[in-house]
Symmetry: D2
Subunit: 356 residues, 4 copies
């Protein structure tokens, strides 16, 4: 109940701190009889892994997944799946100087005030390090959705600062370290990141996630609408400040005559709704977009206070991403996967077999 669980039927529970011994999760509700191997999970983890390009943090973690239960001879048994990952490259000493000071833009202050105690090493539980378990759990959801329902969930960097990355192709997304869908933007992105590194600054960004081949009927009336649950799971990612479905904030200036998706015998003729009507999937692609704030840990000094409420100035050293949004692509995909997986099982609970 204290926040470390997501999902109602497909449930993911996580634990672990940035500099603790291990991070881990339990996945409950997984259907039996599904093939899952280490590599299925490891591949997704590798996409998120720090230290994989000069454009992200140089912190290096092998992030090797350990499967402890719930999978027998490579097949899910229907019982709870336990996963852990060791923290190796911890350098806790980097954080000793942060023991008594609150880093602006981070959760140091709020954790200390809420709990009266905090693991100050790299933000402890509030560190984005925890997202490694989201990606691990998401990998399992993604595999199920793909193998059983042919649902594809893919994301890309849609904006970084003022650089808007127009979608060109999914192939392109996997060809560069930015998850950028357009080859014409790669150089601009490289230059931008280089400049940020030089100036010790960081920048915001936007990620788009699209889910394709969606069965009609996912999502439930009133509160647990699919869009509401997606908003929850996406907004729960560190540093996310905004979520859109379909046309999102653009609807403010739309007329009703423009924003409705007409239908004919072949289905919907447009997709302003982003694949969700009345909180329930309509069979079109589900389109979500999130806004991610710039990394708060930068080399530029800022005023703050200490644990005992004295004023000071902090300049955060350490190894940080100039744009956390870049590595957030597999995380956002994972969250969409977990939420869709939950709703696939919720559908089955009440309405029986999904019509494909």
């Amino acid at each position: 109940m204290a926040g470390n669980t997501i999902g109602k039927i497909f449930r993911v529970h996580t634990f672990g701190e940035s500099h603790g011994l291990k991070l881990g999760c339990i996945i409950d509700g997984m259907p039996p009889g599904i093939k899952i191997n280490h590599q299925d999970i490891q591949n997704e983890l590798n996409r998120r892994k720090p230290g994989s390009s000069p454009y992200t943090t140089p912190r290096r973690e092998p992030d090797k997944i350990e499967i402890l239960s719930g999978i027998f001879d490579g097949i899910t048994t229907g019982t709870s799946i336990g996963l852990t990952i060791k923290n190796t490259d911890q350098r806790s000493q980097d954080y000793n100087n942060l023991k008594n000071v609150f880093r602006p833009g981070h959760a140091d202050y709020t954790y200390q005030m809420k709990y009266g105690i905090r693991d100050y090493r790299g933000g402890g539980r509030s560190s984005a390090r925890e997202t490694v378990m989201r990606v691990a759990a998401g990998a399992i959801a993604k595999k199920y959705l793909k193998d059983i329902h042919k649902i594809k969930i893919r994301g890309y960097l849609s904006q970084l600062g003022s650089i808007v990355c127009q979608f060109q192709s999914w192939t392109q997304v996997n060809k560069n370290p930015f998850f950028c869908p357009n080859e014409n933007d790669i150089d601009k992105l490289k230059k931008k990141i280089k400049y940020l590194k030089k100036t010790g600054n960081s920048i915001g960004s936007s990620i788009t996630v699209i889910a394709e081949n969606i069965p009609i009927g996912l999502g439930e009336p009133v509160f647990d609408r699919l869009d509401a649950d997606l908003a929850h799971s996406l907004m729960s990612i560190n540093a996310v400040k905004g979520v859109e479905i379909g046309d999102g904030f653009a609807v403010i200036q739309q007329l009703g005559s423009m924003s409705r998706d007409a239908m004919d015998v072949n289905g919907f003729k447009s997709n302003h709704a982003g694949g969700i009507l009345g909180g329930i999937s309509n069979g079109e692609n589900i389109i979500t977009r999130i806004a991610i704030k710039p990394t708060s840990s930068i080399n530029i000094p800022i005023n703050t206070i200490t644990n005992d409420k004295k004023e000071t100035i902090i300049q955060v050293k350490g190894r940080h991403d100039p744009c956390i949004g870049i590595r957030a692509v597999p995380i956002a995909e994972a969250m969409v996967s977990i939420t869709l997986m939950d709703h696939v099982l919720r559908f089955q609970a009440q309405c029986g077999k999904i019509k494909i």
Copy 2:
């Protein structure tokens, strides 16, 4: 589990269709010993009520609240609170022609496909009529938050089409039928709505809700962050397509050096974060903004299909709001109230008495 519940400790369960006999809710987890009377709830319902100005739907519902349990001699007893409201102005016959056709932009199609049956009268369960119970439950949460913690939750229309309503004062918000915070915009809004009515069209809008006097520490790590739960509850409102916390989508173009809120002994020196850091309230005002799509039920014809998959054209008559966003202000306030209330109790569960 089928979506009609919100909250984990302060729980609201609802039922009811647009043209059913009654709508109702159960509120579970309400602390005992709190004064609640009919008028506390009725006042909020009256703010949402249809038919209260020429700028919203002429459908008239007295929306008189019935308190059936959980309040004894005007005091909450700690047991579940049952509330109902009668539907009176139903004119179901308006909807007979919609029995076999799917209204674009509505949930008719998705409900039919998911459940194999739908109450077609006014959208049944998918109608925004259900929000009446959100407002009733929200009134109780709001009262508690105000009486016990002096928390104030207020919203306003921040944009309608291209008319951006700059915040002037809360007094102004209550003086006009648009919940507009700026007297200079009233005429523009009146003209716009008049024009939309004449052309049978509708428009999108944006609502801002601000919660003041927030204790530090609301929200829980990782998944049930306060911002994630607010995103969920706000996105669950009909027609909402986007949610922002603090600077929202503007962070995409911000540098890290601009977006962090510095601190001194008096607290935070800015509020880009919108009052939430690491998913936990930091004591600053909580700032949320939502985007609401234009009403889909308009007099302008559009292509669609029938239950038996034949093509047709539909022109929705009936009595609809040219801008549903206007009446959404009390609904958005209610959702923020319910979510904050839940987190106040969640805080108490784990961390004991809230420090004020």
Copy 3:
């Protein structure tokens, strides 16, 4: 979260006090497309109804069910079902003398101490009056289980004081006002009740509920075993002090060589397990038994204290059952039905269509 909900996927939320305006419930998670009419629910309510024989309380309540939502043209729509029942025969004045005194054996003291307030009229929320909504919700679950899966759930009075009622036939159960399965015990029961009424005393009893035609596979590992969930739902009935599955407490004296159920190609050769192995149904009849304490409200005086902690003696007048167990048969059936229903949907969520 404050206890007024049961079930995880098939969820029942209730409200209402003994002497409030109405009692009600919301049923969430009901599959769509199921025929349910007033009479299906009313029939079950009538079996529980007070005042139906000289052997139970003379309090008379028509207990007429009102269906407010979720059922359209006699068919469930998959949306939440709202039900209410009016309290009519309230005679609250009977309870004025109980305002300041705690009735031993009742929840008066614990509610007052927990909440600092209580609705003292007939026990308020703690009254067995609330079980009326369990029976209403149970009727819907029972109908589904019977119509879709041919599962039959039936109970009987298996003991009253020292009178052990050996099972003879289900036909017999419905022929007498005691739900007694053996015609040879009827006279003994009549005499016993008559004697208790004369002496103003009451007696304990035992109810057996048997569920037949159970699919294999209901129940989930470790905590939400079917037996654990049945124990929860049955122990939640007022006045229940013990729950058994299969051989129950008799296992204490059994040898391992006696207590195992051998198997052959035709299935199990005995049913010591009561139809549940490792928390999961094995296809045999599910057998549960509960112990119900004697009515605490009797005419015999007893020492107690007042709200302000002064000693006093209380003699409870009013209209009470000499043996509450008698009317508990439909309630116990309802709880077993609700729990099985929940597990049928839970099975479907994770494992797909139930093999019949």
Copy 4:
């Protein structure tokens, strides 16, 4: 949702199979600022540990607890606690002959039928091996209840076969390998176990757990009564077939005049209720008793079937307890601790600080 979680606010999620790599759990909702060290948990694990006396299974597991998160410098941080334990003495080859056959009295058949797959090594997830994590989580709950609320939770063997162990003293309970509270019964127990070992048979038993110094007010109306939740958590232990609160099944033969607990200014004058009235703790000791069936894995042959439905005879070799009830004492204590802990936090959520 698939059963591997217990508790609503203090939540315990578990994973792990009898012969998997590790077992583990996540504890969510733990209050911050509580001192917990390895030894607090290890001590409880040692009480349950197999191989600690000649009267239980000779399987030897060090059961060394690994604390992976949520505790920083020996203090709980309020974030989720991750715990794991390695399986070492696995001898999976003992189970190869069980791959294709269902052991009567075990969950082999029901798991296979439900999931279509099972980890046959020692029962996989259905093995009582999983209770090791219940004891670990229970140790944390127990520590909190004792340190903060002075609540004591202790159990003993109250019956084994026909040997009824009358309570003598808690000191005695810890002096013998049977958790027997009476020195006069030790020899009888030794002889009985020896005899069972010789004959390759097993026997049922009963455990009593008593919780002392209970605050008034734990438990919630209607469904989540404290007794209902205790029944759930106790019945979820492997092999439990019955649960009693207070007088339990003895109430069947009681008159109302005997079964009520009278009150005077010093409190209750008896405790037939077992410390719970209307589902809420009344401040008296909470008394629960469970019935545990004999070990099903015994050396005596029995008829059964194979995976492919052929008849066969099975004689289970391996290393088993002649009476599983003996080692169940710390497990039952753990379950009572977890349930009480959950209700302490639930009380705080709704009603604020507990009055001691």
